[in-house]
Structures are given as structure tokens and as C-alpha cells.
Symmetry: C2
Subunit: 234 residues, 2 copies
DNA sequence: TTTATATTGTCTCAATTTGTGACAATATAA
DNA sequence: TTATATTGTCACAAATTGAGACAATATAAA
């Protein structure tokens, strides 16, 4: 990592959100031999679009590609970077503790979130990281810097956007039941929703296609499967 | 402006929105002897919080202080800065056309919008600028770089936030009539609203205090004056 | 002084949307 | 065969919104 290849003082962090069962999960990386946990992030090449850098970095660090990413806030407090944990990470990677390493500088971080289908994805850690794992949103490990704030703001934004953007689309497999869709909404909002009202609203909203009934594994009437209609271009 | 005082490649731009009569207006600066128009913006000191830099810069460039600013997007395309207009601005300020002046570099820009009471404010241009004027949102001059995109995104965000944040609060004088409030909403949304429904909704929302009737200048029944309740802290 | 005009505040009723429970249908387990 | 859990749909009540009507009233016009 030659500092000349990257824009100084500029970073990004991504909050990768997946859904499993009835909980939201977030992808967290652990750095080798440090016990330090962080959001997957990275830096921007000198002639690279910011958005492209984020896609590229996510691919490099987790193996995930073609993911819908949404920028939600830029964190710019002067003291958001603590030198101590970064030194620890550098040392664990064989980089000496010179006080003026560029990664110890102050960084502004542009934060993105992504919604992906948990089941399709087995994230793979990169060379820098020990592991790259899903954590339930209620049981995140302690994160470095202000990454906990970044996660909180991501969830807040997601909640606000829930009725305006088709977030369910990205968190579920192609075909899903009405119950699964409702569970996604409930996990994001953090509240229970009324079944009949939810079903009526979703059916009326004209965003779902109904398919044949599922061969259900449950001891009850088999539910329909649904998928999202292709988005109309406006 | 010593480049060592500022974070390289990082800028901010602010979309200052005021309301007058029935239109939204935006504050635009014109650079001396160039015919170039731009949003008021600036740079971040090396140890300064991003948010503080934006407040400071706005004060320096327009004389406006204590203004509620909301960050809404970070523009990071590699080619969003065009060297030609920036060279013109530098030359008009007596700075030679060296090809590697730091202001000709690529910049990522964090964009903020602010809502202010048009009537209370007479903006003053700074040394760099010829003028600092309000322009109706429908009649903006051609802006440099991607500043037209930044304005468009600001309005889009404002519209989305209209029902969740108390935007009217900042655009009107302390006391105002129901009609004025409705005009703010209409200007932001770009649509007409039904008078009776709007009035009923606003009164039911429990955010307004009703005061004595206005000594009206109009040839009709005098309207009540309203102000916003103090926000409860949650 | 009287009348006309424009806007305001409020009310009413219809139309629509949402809340809530009921109930039959049905896939599996007992 | 019966019991159980969940699903899809309906019916009705409650709440919200749409749309117009109308009296009140501050100024302008006569």
C-alpha cells in the first residue's frame, strides 16, 4: 500500500447488512492478532470515483461483488481516529511504529450501507484480516474508532428509507413468503407489525408478483411465494 | 491560503436556502471578473471538525452565523472538478497559471444545506467574490463543476425530510400565518396543497402555538399568527 | 356610510385507508 | 383420523383524508 496511490485523509467504511431468521446481521472484520474489530473499509485511488472505490474495496476485502451500496453520511470529526488501535494493527502486520505513518493521520470517512442476501454469501477475509463474520446487530463486538456510531446511523437511515426504497428486495432470496417479508420489516423497524394489515398493504402496493404455492415444511397451510416486480424505470 | 493549513482533496459546499413570497431562493457567489458562479464552499483545517469547518466557512464567506446546517451527500467523482474554471478564478485573483496549484487537484466535496429566514439576512460577499446573492431556484445562473447536481440533490433531500423534520421553522419569521406556512410547503414540494386539509393537519400536529390575530394589511378577514412550539427533547 | 371582495376559520359529509377480529382452508404432526 | 399451526381472505369499525359549503371579517370601492 503505497500512500501515493491513495487520496490522503479520505477513507470509506461500509455497513454490510444481511438478514437471517428474524435478525439483522452485520459484517465485521477482525484484524490479525489484535483482537480489534472494525467495519470493512478502505481508501480511494487518486483518479478513482468514490463510489467505485467503495465497490472495489468491498470486493477485495470480502469477496462480495455487484452489491447495491448507498452512501448515508460522512464522518469528519478531527479526533475520530485514535492512533493507538491503528498502531496495533500496523505492528501486527509487520509495520514498525514510526509515528508519522500515513495511516495514523486524521481521516474523514464516507460511510455506505449495503443490503444483501445473507444466505447466498459466505464472506472471505482478506490478507489484513483474521476473519470476516456476520454478527447479530444486538451482539456486535466492540468496534474501533467511531464505527459503532456509523452502524447506528446506518440503521437509522435504513429505517427512515424503509417505506421509500425497496429494501426488502436485497435482503431476501428471489422468492420468499409474505411472512419472511414481514420479518424483514420487523427486524429493521424493531417492532412487531400486524399480519393482516401488512399483507393487505403489500398486496395493494403492486410491487409483488405471486407465484405457485410453496411445498411447505411447516405443519400448516402452505403459503404463496412472492418475488419483487422488476422496477419500472422512471 | 497556505495549502498546509488545509486537508488536501477535501472540500465542502453549502446550499443555503431561503424563502421569499412563494419561491425558494438559493445563495450563489460570483467570482471577481470571471462571470463564474458557484455555491459557497471551502476547505477544512487540518485539526478542525468537518462540521465546524462548514459553519466557519459559511460565516467567513457570507456573514451568516448560527445557522442550522444538514449534511446530505458527499460528491466524489474523480472528474467533478474541471481545471479550466478554477484556473480562471485563480488568475482573476492574481495567482499565476502554474499547472500544479493545489486548488486544481481533484476534490471530494461534502455537501450541506441550510434553511434560513430570507428577510433577516443580507448576505455579504467575501474578498474572493464579487457578489453573494439570492437567486430564485428556477432561475439559477449556470454554476461551475457539478454544483447544479448538488443543488438538485439538496432539494430532493429537503423534500424527503419535509414531513420528518421541522423545516418550516427555519424558513419563516418567528410569527407567521397559516398561509405563509402553506406556501413554504408548496414551494418545497413544488405542488399546490389543499387549504383546509393543510390547516387541519398542521393544527392537529401539535407543533404550532396560536397567537393574537394579525393587524392585516389585506382586504379580508385577519388571519391568526402562529409560531412553532419549542421542540421537546427526546 | 354602505356595499363588494377576498381570505380565513370551521364545519359537514363522502371517500378512502387502516385497525381488528373472525373464519375457512390446508400442510403436517400426533 | 384428529389436532395444531399458519395462511389467505373477508367484514366491519375506527380513523384519516378529500372536497366543498358557509359564516366571519378586514379592507377597497361605491
Amino acid at each position: 500500500m503505497d500512500p501515493k496511490d491513495y487520496l490522503p485523509h479520505i477513507a470509506y467504511d461500509s455497513v454490510i447488512i444481511g438478514f437471517s431468521g428474524d435478525e439483522l446481521h452485520i459484517l465485521i472484520m477482525e484484524y490479525h492478532n489484535t483482537g480489534l474489530f472494525a467495519l470493512p473499509g478502505g481508501f480511494v485511488h487518486t483518479t478513482e470515483n468514490l463510489n467505485d472505490a467503495v465497490s472495489r474495496g468491498l470486493k477485495e476485502r470480502t469477496g462480495l461483488a455487484n452489491i447495491y451500496l448507498e452512501q448515508f453520511y460522512t464522518f469528519g470529526n478531527a479526533k475520530r481516529n485514535k492512533p493507538a488501535p491503528m498502531k496495533k494493527i500496523l505492528e501486527a502486520n509487520g509495520i514498525g511504529p514510526e509515528d508519522n505513518h500515513w495511516l495514523l493521520d486524521r481521516f474523514i470517512s464516507v460511510a455506505y450501507y449495503a443490503l444483501i442476501n445473507y444466505k447466498n454469501v459466505i464472506p472471505k477475509p482478506d490478507a489484513l484480516s483474521d476473519s470476516c463474520k456476520w454478527y447479530s446487530i444486538d451482539k456486535l463486538p466492540k468496534l474501533i474508532f467511531d464505527h459503532a456510531d456509523i452502524v447506528a446511523k446506518a440503521i437509522e437511515t435504513l429505517r427512515d428509507n424503509l417505506d421509500r426504497k425497496l429494501v426488502g428486495m436485497n435482503l431476501l432470496p428471489k422468492k420468499f413468503t409474505m411472512k419472511e417479508l414481514q420479518q424483514v420489516y420487523e427486524a429493521i423497524l424493531g417492532t412487531k407489525l400486524r399480519r393482516t394489515t401488512f399483507q393487505r398493504t403489500m398486496l395493494a402496493s403492486d410491487i409483488l408478483v405471486r407465484h405457485e404455492k410453496q411445498y411447505s415444511g411447516g405443519a400448516h397451510k402452505a403459503p404463496f411465494l412472492y418475488s419483487f416486480k422488476k422496477q419500472k424505470k422512471i
